[in-house]
C-alpha cells in the first residue's frame, strides 16, 4: 500500500443500532440474513479503520439465505469501481463465514452488479475453491485477512 490509498476519502455512514432480538422460546430460529449480517458487519475494511457496515459495503438487504437448501448469497458493493481490495473483502467474508457456519452451507459471494469494473473475474475468483485455498496459503494475504477479521481498531 505504498502507492497510496485506492480510495483515499471514503464516505462513512453511521452504524445502525443492533436490534436485540425478542426472545421467543417457541419460535423457529431459522438462519436469516440478519444473523449473517451480524457476523460480518464488523469486519474491518482493508484500507480504513471503518467497518464494512460503516462504509456501506454491506447491508442486511444484500444478503439472502435459503436455510432449506443451505445456501447463502452475499452481494457486496466496493466503495469504488476499481477497488483492488474487492477480492480481499470477499476473502474476509468467506473466511469469517467459514468459521461461523457449519460446513454444509454453500456460500456464494459476489460484488453487486455494476459496482466493479472487473465484476466477472472478481466473482469467479471469489467462488473458486482452489483459488481461495491458494490465496489463504499466501502468508501476506492471510495476514491481511486476519487483520481485518480480528482488528480492534473499530
Amino acid at each position: 500500500m505504498t502507492l497510496g490509498l485506492i480510495n483515499a476519502n471514503p464516505v462513512v455512514h453511521a452504524k445502525k443500532e443492533r436490534v436485540a432480538r425478542t426472545e421467543d422460546p417457541h419460535a423457529d430460529d431459522a438462519v436469516d440474513p440478519l444473523d449473517i449480517y451480524d457476523f460480518v458487519r464488523d469486519i474491518r475494511d482493508p484500507e480504513h479503520p471503518y467497518s464494512l457496515e460503516q462504509l456501506s459495503v454491506l447491508s442486511e438487504e444484500s444478503i439472502t439465505v435459503d436455510d432449506k437448501l443451505g445456501r447463502i448469497l452475499i452481494t457486496f458493493t466496493p466503495t469504488i469501481q476499481h477497488c483492488s481490495m474487492a477480492t480481499v473483502i470477499g476473502l474476509c467474508l468467506r473466511v469469517k463465514l467459514k468459521h461461523f457456519f457449519p460446513p454444509h452451507y454453500k456460500v456464494d459471494i459476489k460484488v453487486s452488479p455494476g459496482s466493479h469494473a472487473d465484476e466477472e473475474s472478481v466473482n469467479k475468483q471469489l467462488n473458486d475453491k482452489e483459488r481461495v485455498a491458494a490465496a489463504l496459503e499466501n502468508p501476506n494475504l492471510r495476514q491481511l485477512v486476519d487483520e481485518c477479521l480480528y482488528s480492534n481498531e473499530l
Partner: protein, 1145 residues
C-alpha cells in the same frame, strides 16, 4: 521537669534537617504536649528557641520559625494573654518580609488570626499591620502551591474576621488581592481566592464608592476562569471537584450587582458556545446572577437572554414521552436533560422578576407566532412536520413554565395566548354560556397543536395552584383572571379533549392524539376546589366519559389502559380531599360503578378487564379499597355459593379469577398500607361459613383450580393478620372442620389410629386442605385448638395422600415451642410432644395393610415403619415418605437435630441393598427382611431431598411466619456430603446408585454456590456422574439444568479452576455430550458456555482436548436455536485460538 530536659533535644531534632520526618513530627508532638499541659510557657519556648529564630542560616531559621508557628497552631483553643499575642503577631508580621523563611511566618500569622475571642484574639491594629505587611511584601504568584494556599487562607482570615479594620486599607487591598490571584491555576487555591473576592466585595456595600472603580479589574481576573474546565483528568491528589469550584466562581460572580455590565455579556457569549458544560454553566450562573442582580438590572438583558434561551431549548429539547407510566402525573414528560432543566429554571426566575416584560417578549416572539399560525393546518400529531413538532414542544414547555411561575404571569399568558387558542379552536365565551353545562357536543376534530399547548398551559396552571394550596403560601386564587377564563371555557375544553379521545384510533404504540385527549381530561379533573375553576358537574362528566371507556371500549386496549391510568391518577388526587364533593362524586361515579361491574352478568366484557379495573382503582386510596374489597367479597361469595350450592362450573372459573385478584393484587396492597385487617378477617371467616354451608352436592369439588385459589387466598389472608385475628379464623375453621366433616373427633383421640376406617371424601379433603393452609400461615403464637386431635387427623390424611396436610404438619413442627423454652404453661403441645406424636403414634394396620398377609392383622405400626415399607402397599409408602419430607423440611428450617433421623429414614429407603452404615435403622427394620425396593418408592425418597432443600412458595415461607435458622442449607449440605460419598462408593448395583446421585443432585443444586465452591474438588467427579445420570430421562431436564448451572458456577469462578484442572478430560467429555441435548435449549446453551469457560484453563491441560471440542461445536453451529448458535460461535473462536487462529484441525 524531667520532660523539660528533653526540650532542647526535641528542638534540635526538629530543626535538624538531617532528621527523618517521623522524628521531626514526634519532637513537634512532644513540644506541643508540653505547651498544652502548661509544663512549658510560650515565653520559655521562645527563649529556648532564641537563636533558631534569628540565626542567619536560612534553613535553620526557617525551621525554627516553623516550629514556633506549628506549636501555635496546636494551641489554637488555649487561652493566651494579649501581650503574648501582640508580641507574637508582631514577630510573625515582620517575618513576612523574610522570604527565605516564609512558610513559618504564614502559618504563624494564620494560627494567630484564626484565634477566637474567648481565647484571646489579635487586636484590630495588629491585624491591619499584618495585612499591610502582607500587601507590601508578598509576591504570591512566585510561591509554591502550598504557600500560595496559605497566603489565600491568611487573606481570607483577615477579610472575614477583621473586615472593618482591613477595609480601611482601600485600594491597596484591592490591588493586593487582584495581584495575588492573577493567573492562579491550582483548584484548591482558586476555591479560596474566589471566596476572598466574595468577602472583599461584601466589605464595600455602597455601589458608588471604591468598589465601582475596581469592579472592572476584578472581573478581568475572574473572567478568564469561566467556564471552569479541568485540563487534566482529576487525579487522586486534587481534592476539589469541578462543580464545587464552579459553584465558588458562581458566587463570586453573583456577589455584587456591580458585576452586571461585565458578567451578563460574558455569560451570554458563552451560552452560544459549542461546549456543553459551558452552556450548562452559563445557564446556572445566569440564574444565580439574576437572583442577586435584581429585576431592574436584568430587565436590560431580558431580550438577549430570551432569544438565546429559546435557541438553547430548541436545540436540546427531545421528543416528549407520550406515556402514562411516566413520572410526572400532571404535565407532559420529557427526557431529563441538564440544559433544558437549567434553561427552564432560568426562564422561571426571569419571569418571576419581570413577568410583564418576559410575557410580552414571548407573545411577540416571531417563532411563537409562527407556530400559532402554522399549527392551524394540522389536525393530527403525525401530520405535523418534524421541525414544527420541535417548535411546538419548545413553545409548549415555555408556556408551561411561564404559567406556573406566578399568578401575574399566568394571568398574562391566559389573557393573551389562551384566549387566542380558544378563538382559533372556535370557542367563545358567549356560545359557551348558551350551552347547558351537561350538554355534550358531537365530536369533531380539533387542531392537535392547540390542544397540546392547552395541556401545557393547564398543567402549568395546575402546578401553580398546587403550590398556592400549601399552607405556607396559602392564597386565594379564585379571583385571578386565569381562573375565570378557565372556568368560562371549561366545558368547551372538555368537549375538545373528549372529541380527541372519541375520534382516535387504537394504534400501538400510544397515539399522541389519544394521549392529548386523555391527559387533557385528566388535568381538568385534577383542579382542586369543588366549584371553581372547574365545576363539579364537569368533573362528573369527565368521570362519566372515562367510565364509559372502561365499560364499553375494552376492545381498544390502549385507550382502555390509559383511561384506567387517568382514573387512577384522579382517584389518588381526590383522595387527598376526603370530604370534598368531588371525592364524593368520584366514589359514586367510579368506585361504585366499577364494583357494580362485577355483579353485572355482562358477558361482553371479559372478566380479566373488570378485575384489573377494580384492583387498580381500589389501590388509589384507603376508602376506595374498602369499597372495592366489599364489592369483591360480595362477588366472590355469591359465585362461591353458586358453585357449592348449584354446582355451576362456569362460576367456578369466575371465582378463581376473583380470588386470584384478591390474593395477588389487593392483599399485598393492604398488607403494605395497613388498616384492613378487620375486612380480611371477615373475608376469611366468611369463606369458612360458605364451606360449612355447602353440605350438599359434591360434584363441584372436582375443580382443582378452585381449591388451589381458595388455599392460596386463605394462606395469604391468614399470613397477613395479627395473632388475635388468626385465632379467630382458626377457631372458625376448626369448628367447621369438626362439625361439618365425617371425621369423628372423639375416635381420633383414641390410639391406635385407624386410618383404614376412613375413606376421605372429596369434600372432606377440601375442607381439610383449606384448614391445613390456614394452619400453614399462622404465627407461632397462635394457638390451634385440640392440637393432639388435629395431629392425629393430619397423620391419617397424610397417609391418604393429602399433601397440604403434610405441609401443615411441617409448618406446625417448625413453629412449636421446645420444652426447655416453654415458660408459660399452656395446653399447647411442646415440640418434643409433637414429635413424639408424629413418630411414635401407633397406627393400626387394619385396613391399610391388607395386602400384606404375613404380618398384618392386629399389628400396630408407626410412621417410620410405613416409610420403610412395612408390607407391600407401595402407595401408602409413597404417601408416608412425602409426608415425612415436609415434616423434615419443617425440622430442617429450624435446625432441629431430629432431621438426622428423618434423613436416615430417607437414605435407608434409597439404599435398600446396602444397609451397612446406618445403625439407627437396623432395629427398626429388622423385621422387614422382605425388603421392598420398589423403584418408584426409591425415586420418591430421592425427590424428598428436593422438598427438603428447595424454597417453596406454598408453605414454610417467610410470609408465613416461619422459623428459619441462618445457614441451614450450608449445614445440611456439609453434614450430608460425607454420608452420600460413603454410600455411593459402597453401592454396587447401578440403580440404587443412580438414585443416590439423584438425591445428591437435589442437594447440590439448591445449596448456595459459594459453599459448593469450597468443596469443589471433591464434588466435581460426583457432579459429573450426576449429570450423565440425569441425561437419561427427559423428565429430569430441569434438574439437569439446575445442576449444570452449578458446574458453570464452578467453572467461571477463580477458586473453582483448581478443582477443575484435574478433571478437564472428564468434564469436557461430559459437556460434549450435553452440547446436543435435545430436550432443553438452556442446557445446550449452558453446556457451550461452560466449554467457553474451560478455554481459559492452562493451555497444557486443555490442548489435547481441542480437536474433540471443535468437532462437537461444529454440530452446535447448526443448532435449531439462534442463541445456541451464537454461543457456539464464541466458543469455537475461543477454542480455535488456543492454538492459532485457523480452524484447521
Amino acid at each position: 521537669m524531667a520532660k523539660l530536659d528533653h526540650l532542647t533535644q526535641h528542638i534540635e531534632s526538629y530543626v535538624d534537617s538531617s532528621a527523618t520526618p517521623a522524628q521531626q513530627a514526634a519532637s513537634l508532638d512532644a513540644i506541643g504536649c508540653l505547651v498544652k499541659s502548661d509544663a512549658l510557657t510560650l515565653e520559655a519556648l521562645v527563649r529556648e528557641l532564641g537563636m533558631y529564630l534569628t540565626t542567619t542560616d536560612d534553613i535553620i531559621r526557617a525551621r525554627g520559625i516553623y516550629l514556633l508557628a506549628e506549636v501555635l497552631t496546636r494551641i489554637e483553643s488555649k487561652p493566651l494573654d494579649s501581650a503574648t499575642i501582640h508580641s507574637l503577631i508582631v514577630f510573625f508580621k515582620d517575618r513576612l518580609a523574610d522570604w527565605r523563611a516564609l512558610r513559618g511566618a504564614l502559618v504563624g500569622c494564620l494560627a494567630l488570626i484564626r484565634r477566637k475571642t474567648n481565647v484571646g484574639m489579635v487586636i484590630g491594629s495588629d491585624a491591619k499591620a499584618v495585612a499591610q505587611s502582607f500587601l507590601e511584601n508578598m509576591q504570591v504568584q512566585s510561591l509554591a502551591q502550598h504557600d500560595r494556599k496559605l497566603c489565600f487562607e491568611l487573606l481570607g482570615g483577615l477579610l472575614e474576621c477583621y473586615s472593618d479594620t482591613v477595609a480601611s486599607l482601600g485600594e491597596h487591598l484591592f490591588f493586593g488581592i487582584c495581584e495575588a490571584m492573577d493567573a492562579e491555576k491550582d483548584p484548591e487555591c482558586l476555591m479560596l481566592a474566589f471566596r476572598n473576592v466574595e468577602s472583599l466585595v461584601r466589605l464595600y456595600p455602597d455601589a458608588s464608592g471604591l468598589l465601582a472603580n475596581f469592579v472592572g479589574d476584578l472581573f478581568d481576573i475572574l473572567e478568564s476562569y469561566f467556564p471552569i474546565h479541568f485540563t487534566h483528568p482529576s487525579g487522586g491528589d486534587i481534592n476539589v471537584r469541578r462543580d464545587e469550584l464552579s459553584k465558588a466562581l458562581m458566587s463570586a460572580f453573583s456577589s455584587t450587582p456591580l458585576f452586571e455590565p461585565f458578567v451578563i455579556p460574558l455569560l451570554l457569549e458563552k451560552l452560544s458556545s459549542s461546549l456543553l458544560s459551558a452552556k450548562v454553566d452559563s445557564l446556572k450562573y445566569l440564574r444565580a446572577c439574576a437572583v442577586e442582580y435584581g429585576a431592574e438590572r436584568m430587565a436590560n438583558h431580558a431580550k438577549a437572554i430570551w432569544s438565546l434561551l429559546k435557541d438553547a431549548i430548541s436545540t436540546y429539547l427531545e421528543e416528549p414521552v407520550f406515556l402514562f407510566s411516566s413520572a410526572s402525573v400532571v404535565g407532559i414528560t420529557f427526557q431529563n436533560n441538564e440544559i433544558i432543566t437549567e434553561a427552564l429554571s432560568l426562564l422561571q426566575q426571569l419571569v418571576m422578576q419581570n413577568s410583564d416584560l418576559l410575557v410580552n417578549l414571548i407573545i411577540d416572539d416571531e417563532d411563537v407566532n409562527m407556530v400559532f399560525n402554522s399549527l392551524a393546518y394540522h389536525e393530527k400529531y403525525n401530520a405535523i412536520p418534524v421541525q414544527e413538532k420541535q417548535k411546538l414542544h419548545v413553545i409548549g414547555r415555555i408556556l408551561y413554565v411561564t404559567a406556573k411561575t406566578s399568578f401575574s404571569s399566568c394571568n398574562l399568558v391566559f389573557q393573551s395566548l389562551f384566549s387566542k387558542i380558544m378563538k382559533t379552536l372556535g370557542f367563545s365565551i358567549k356560545n359557551n354560556d348558551s350551552l347547558p353545562n351537561d350538554d355534550i357536543l358531537p365530536p369533531r376534530r380539533f387542531k392537535f397543536g392547540f390542544l397540546y399547548l392547552c395541556i401545557e398551559l393547564l398543567a402549568g396552571c395546575l402546578d401553580l395552584i398546587a403550590l398556592s394550596e400549601e399552607p405556607l403560601v396559602h392564597y386565594d386564587f379564585e379571583h385571578e383572571m386565569f381562573c375565570t377564563t378557565l372556568n368560562s371555557f371549561s366545558s368547551s375544553l372538555f368537549n375538545a379533549f373528549g372529541s380527541a379521545v372519541a375520534l382516535s384510533s387504537d394504534d400501538h404504540p400510544l397515539d399522541p392524539d389519544i394521549y392529548i385527549g386523555v391527559k387533557g381530561l385528566q388535568i381538568l379533573a385534577m383542579f382542586p376546589g369543588d366549584a371553581f375553576p372547574i365545576p363539579k358537574s364537569l368533573f362528573e362528566n369527565i368521570l362519566r366519559k372515562f367510565m364509559s371507556i372502561i365499560t364499553e371500549d375494552f376492545h381498544k386496549t390502549i385507550l382502555w389502559d390509559v383511561a384506567l391510568k387517568a382514573l387512577v391518577h384522579i382517584g389518588s388526587f381526590v383522595q387527598k380531599f376526603h370530604e370534598s364533593e368531588k371525592a364524593m362524586s368520584y366514589r359514586s361515579f367510579v368506585v361504585e360503578k366499577t364494583v357494580e361491574l362485577l355483579s353485572l352478568d355482562d358477558t361482553t366484557m371479559s372478566f380479566s378487564f373488570k378485575v384489573e379495573a377494580l384492583s387498580n382503582i381500589g389501590m388509589t386510596g384507603m376508602e376506595h379499597m374498602l369499597k372495592v374489597l366489599q364489592g369483591l367479597e360480595g362477588a366472590i361469595f355469591s359465585s362461591l355459593s353458586d358453585v357449592f350450592v348449584h354446582g355451576n362450573l362456569r362460576s367456578a372459573k369466575t371465582v378463581v379469577q376473583l380470588l386470584e385478584c384478591y390474593s395477588s393484587k389487593l392483599l399485598p396492597w393492604t398488607r403494605e398500607n395497613g388498616g384492613f385487617e378487620e375486612s380480611v378477617v371477615h373475608f376469611a371467616v366468611e369463606i369458612w361459613s360458605q364451606l360449612g354451608n355447602c353440605m350438599g352436592s359434591s360434584i363441584s369439588f372436582e375443580e382443582k383450580g378452585l381449591l388451589d385459589a381458595i388455599m392460596k387466598v386463605m394462606k395469604l389472608a391468614v399470613g397477613c393478620c395479627s395473632v388475635e385475628s388468626q385465632n379467630i379464623i382458626i377457631q372458625k375453621a376448626y369448628s367447621i372442620l369438626s362439625s361439618h366433616t365425617s371425621f369423628e373427633f372423639k375416635e381420633l383421640e383414641e390410639l391406635p389410629l385407624t386410618p383404614g376406617k376412613y375413606d376421605i371424601s372429596l369434600r372432606d379433603e377440601w375442607v381439610l386442605s383449606i384448614f391445613a393452609s390456614a394452619v400453614i400461615a399462622v404465627c407461632p403464637q397462635t394457638s390451634i385448638p385440640n392440637e393432639r386431635v388435629v395431629f392425629h387427623l393430619f397423620i391419617i390424611a397424610l397417609l391418604k395422600g393429602v399433601v397440604p396436610v403434610a405441609q401443615a404438619l411441617g409448618s406446625m413442627i417448625n413453629k412449636m415451642v421446645s420444652k426447655s423454652n416453654a415458660t408459660e404453661i399452656s395446653s399447647d403441645l411442646t415440640l418434643e410432644e409433637a414429635l413424639d406424636i408424629i413418630f411414635n403414634t401407633k397406627i393400626s394396620a387394619i385396613g391399610i395393610l391388607q395386602k400384606c398377609n404375613r404380618m398384618s392383622n392386629g399389628r400396630e405400626v408407626v410412621l417410620t415403619d410405613l416409610c420403610l415399607g412395612v408390607g407391600t402397599d407401595r402407595l401408602l409408602q409413597i404417601n408416608a415418605l412425602c409426608g415425612l419430607s415436609w415434616i423434615g423440611k419443617g425440622l430442617l428450617l429450624r435446625g432441629h437435630e431430629k432431621i438426622k433421623d428423618v434423613t436416615m429414614i430417607l437414605l435407608e429407603c434409597l439404599s435398600s441393598g446396602t444397609k451397612s452404615a446406618l445403625p439407627l435403622i437396623h432395629d427398626a427394620s429388622e423385621n422387614t427382611d422382605e425388603k421392598n425396593s420398589d423403584p418408584l418408592v426409591m425415586k420418591c425418597a430421592a425427590d424428598a431431598f428436593h422438598v427438603l432443600m428447595s424454597d417453596s412458595e406454598d408453605c414454610l415461607h417467610r410470609n408465613f411466619h416461619v422459623r428459619i435458622r441462618p445457614l441451614y442449607k450450608q449445614r445440611f449440605f456439609a453434614s450430608m456430603m460425607p454420608i452420600f460419598q460413603q454410600l455411593i462408593s459402597k453401592s454396587q448395583s447401578s440403580f440404587p446408585r443412580s438414585l443416590l446421585y439423584r438425591a445428591l443432585a437435589h442437594i447440590i443444586s439448591d445449596t448456595p454456590l459459594i459453599v459448593v465452591l469450597s468443596e469443589a474438588k471433591k464434588l466435581v467427579p460426583v457432579l459429573l456422574d450426576c449429570l450423565s445420570m440425569l441425561t437419561e430421562d427427559i423428565q429430569d431436564k430441569d434438574m439437569l439444568y439446575g445442576l449444570l448451572l452449578v458446574l458453570s458456577g464452578i467453572l467461571t469462578e477463580k477458586n473453582g479452576h483448581e478443582a477443575v484442572a484435574e478433571n478437564v478430560h472428564v468434564i469436557i467429555n461430559c459437556l460434549i455430550r450435553l452440547v446436543d441435548y435435545p430436550h432443553k435449549m438452556l442446557v445446550r446453551e449452558t453446556a457451550i458456555q461452560c466449554l467457553l469457560a474451560m478455554a481459559e484453563l492452562p493451555h497444557s491441560r486443555i490442548y489435547p482436548m481441542r480437536k474433540q471440542v471443535l468437532q462437537a461445536i461444529v454440530k452446535a453451529l447448526d443448532d435449531k436455536k439462534r442463541t445456541v448458535r451464537l454461543e457456539a460461535v464464541k466458543c469455537r473462536q475461543a477454542w480455535a485460538s488456543t492454538a492459532s487462529r485457523s480452524l484447521h484441525f
